[in-house]
């Protein structure tokens, strides 16, 4: 079973997050089954949210909505990755398997920053 949650550019992450939380309270919690997917957009040289709280095992999908290339990387201990660069309309996914705070950036545009808190 899998919950797919789409975070649209302007919707508030909190309402969707609390939905996910409620579900996990109502039903018996099993971490492997309850992996969720979050979508973060890249638009006007910014991530669609500055901070994202997720659970261990969740996946984040980064989608480029700008008419030029962006990159996504993190040098944080909790998750070290470089998704390379990709154009408009394409996306890359990362699964966060360790708890901690992950500072995500775009190497091309250093003002693009996103903090992912993995709980």
């Amino acid at each position: 079973m899998m919950i797919r949650e789409q975070l649209k550019n302007k919707s508030k992450p909190f309402s969707i997050l609390s939905l996910v939380l409620m579900w996990s309270l109502i039903l018996n919690y099993q971490s492997t089954v309850w992996a969720a997917e979050f979508e973060v957009g890249q638009k006007n040289k910014a991530f669609s949210v500055p901070v994202l709280k997720i659970k261990q095992g969740d996946t984040v999908k980064f989608t480029n909505n700008d008419p030029f290339f962006h990159n996504v990387f993190s040098l944080s201990d909790a998750k070290f990755f470089d998704l390379g660069s990709f154009p408009q309309g394409e996306f890359r996914q990362v699964t966060f398997d360790k708890k901690g705070t992950v500072e995500v950036e775009c190497a091309i545009h250093p003002t693009m920053k996103l903090k992912i808190i993995v709980e």
Binding site: Q6, N9, N65, P67, D82, Q88, I108
Partner: protein, 355 residues
């Protein structure tokens, strides 16, 4: 009028499409629906905000700017007493030095070109490789750099404190903060924030003066922003003609052994090898030679570089095209547009320095 309406309808349609389709719907290639008429609302993003970002603990005052100006022009801040910030960032040479790469302490050749300090206040990141965040952060660097001003701050700060003129200038600029690295940097940064170019013919045209640009220059601007033609604004974006980002644009010197790795030294990611910060293009006519290695002397050669998509293409920025479809008239139009980015020269009065 019709064009404007047309633009609005397109925008509306796009919004609706976006609302229906969510993030899966792509934006049309021409993300900016510019209407190329003087003063048009779609162009206003190209005007610089009246004030650049300023840190809360260093609001500009007349006395801070005055002190910063004196420090900027004072050669006695350097180890040998003969080199000021203005030696390399000279107002007579577009706040740069006219050299391919800078000359430092005892005239040694430095590896990179001196960037202009025009509009640095609007940069969100400083230096070719972005190793400094703010102007306050940056200002002490060249003073202490052995290859540049070679100053010893442990001697310089007491010297400033014993100089009656500087003592009272610091006192009125930063009343309770004393004379130290922090106030020295803050004063210089306050002065740098006054070096601004925002009244070029292009700015006047964006504000509504329809005769400020020639037909050729307007064509140049169209080509500059068009992704299918010049593709320049992808990196040299509004309003300061920079994305404050880092790109390898395929300079010949990237083939040097070893090459200057640029941004890679700060962010060790493959894509950053040979990537340098996108410079502003405001006042670009005043700051030849061009590029971080000073390898190109004319704007024609700069545009030709982009037309052939650079020379060493082994790690080209993904936002750089490997060739451009521009004929010689179109190249000339882009250059004419770049010339329209020169602000009205502002006379500068050199400060008297306290002896």
């Amino acid at each position: 009028m019709w064009k404007e309406l047309n633009g609005r309808v397109k925008y509306l349609l796009k919004t609706i499409l976006l609302l229906i389709g969510g993030t899966s719907v792509g934006y049309s290639a021409a993300d900016h629906d510019y209407v190329f008429e003087a003063g048009h609302s779609s162009l206003q993003e190209w005007l610089l905000p009246d004030l650049p970002p300023i840190p809360d603990d260093n609001r500009p005052t007349a006395s801070r700017i005055e002190l910063g100006k004196k420090l900027f022009f004072d050669p006695r801040l350097s180890g040998h007493g003969n080199m000021s910030c203005a030696t390399c960032h000279s107002p007579m040479l577009g706040w740069s030095d006219g050299l391919a790469t800078a000359r430092g302490f005892k005239s040694q050749i430095l590896p990179r070109a001196t960037p202009t300090i025009v509009n640095v206040a609007y940069n969100s990141i400083q230096m070719w490789d972005g190793r400094k965040r703010s102007l306050e952060d940056q200002a002490i660097g060249p003073m202490e750099a052995v290859a540049e001003m070679h100053a010893n701050l442990a001697e310089l700060i007491p010297w400033l404190g014993n100089n009656e003129g500087y003592k009272s200038l610091f006192k009125s600029a930063y009343p309770n903060e004393g004379i130290n690295r922090s106030t020295l940097a803050k004063a210089i940064a306050s002065f740098e924030r006054t070096i601004i170019s925002n009244d070029s013919p292009f700015d006047q045209w964006v504000k509504g003066n329809s005769t400020a640009l020639s037909k050729q220059q307007i064509l140049g601007f169209k080509l500059f922003v068009s992704e299918d033609k010049g593709n320049c604004a992808v990196c040299h974006s509004a309003p300061n003609f920079t994305d404050n980002g880092f790109h390898n644009i395929g300079l010949k010197s990237f083939g040097n052994e070893p090459p200057d790795l640029g941004r890679f030294s700060q962010k060790p990611l493959a894509i950053m090898k040979g990537a340098f910060k996108t410079p502003t293009l405001r006042d670009i006519t005043l700051t030849a030679p061009y590029f971080h290695d000073g390898s190109i002397t004319t704007l024609t050669d700069v545009v030709d570089h982009y037309v052939r998509g650079g020379d060493i293409k082994t790690n080209l920025s993904p936002n750089m095209k490997t060739s451009l479809d521009l004929n010689s008239e179109e190249v000339a139009a882009i250059i004419a547009f770049l010339q329209a980015l020169e602000g009205t020269p502002k006379p500068i009065t050199l400060p008297m320095l306290p002896l």
